[in-house]
Amino acid sequence: MIKIEASPEEIYDIELEHSLLEANAKLAEKNRAVLDRNGITAIDFMGAIGSGKTTLITRLVEKLKDRVGVAVFNGDATTSSDADPIAAYGVPVVQIATINGCHLDANVVAKACARIDLGKLRLIFIENIGNLICPAEFPLGSKARVVVVSVTEGPYMVRKHPHMFLGAQLVVINKIELAETMDVSVEALTGDVHKLKPDLRVIPTSCKTGAGIDDVARAILAV
């Protein structure tokens, strides 16, 4: 829709309704269609650096790789230190380097998809860049977004970064074996999540003791 109004000084206003997020959203839909056609569910993991995204993905790969075809896209790709331990399980791993270093977008995910054989896969885990606010605006084509927070980020983690949770389908509260030491209540963090989004599922985990990992694996297989 274009409407032009000329004012006496020959100043024009052109009215548009041009979305800056739409180009990425459309690409994300395309990724999703390609994945759906191949029977693949992509899950993307967001959360702060050090919250345990790579470790959680590694645990999930360990649990699931013999049952279903799994691949991992690692967006935290400044070094290969994160990808190597996962690749050791014999699953395809694609490292994604971004230019802006802030978030993955649907375009780089499309490129990563083109680098692997989608034929035998059932799941793709995408580790987003460790960042608290960005990813929500840039869908990738995943079927579910998982936010990983850890109790070591303190009791106010959810309240301070509410936006990240609104677009998520699952929240993992990690490192729960340290909750008492850190004096952080997992219940209070869960309550904060539900204040933002009442139906958002929260699973407490410890990648160290293995607590909750089976629940996350089951939730992911059910997506």
Partner: protein, 124 residues
């Protein structure tokens, strides 16, 4: 910083518009940002000034307007402003997805986009 990717998408679009014949001098760009997005206006203004440098729209001004959030509840039929979380520790009250009337999860109907609304220009 996602403001930088948004600013560069914005600048690409506006430069393309300015350079398409007849060539135009862009004075002002009005951008609407939804309350449910987490784009920081201050950061975006800064990124815009950086991203327009040495382009044909270097002298243009970016104006940012917020679009209020609105939600709809499929459980009770509520439609309107979201419930706000006042004592969260964010800079201002946080728009949530909790239904103000029944407490179930709502879906967003307004305020999750970031759109160019108006470009003010003169023809050269």
């Amino acid at each position: 910083m996602h403001e930088l990717s948004i600013a560069s998408a914005l600048v690409d679009n506006v430069v393309k518009f300015a350079n398409s014949p007849p060539s135009k001098k862009v004075l002002k760009v009005l951008l609407q940002i939804g309350e449910f997005t987490c784009v920081e206006p201050e950061q975006l203004l800064f990124c815009y000034s950086v991203a327009t440098r040495e382009t044909s729209i270097e002298d243009s001004v970016l104006e940012i307007e917020q679009v209020a959030a609105e939600v709809r509840c499929l459980h009770c039929g509520y439609a309107g402003p979201p419930k706000y979380w006042d004592d969260a520790l964010a800079a201002k009250p946080v728009a949530t997805l909790e239904c103000p009337t029944c407490g179930n999860a709502t879906e967003v109907t307004h305020g999750h986009d970031c759109t160019i609304r108006t470009i003010r220009y003169i023809e050269q």
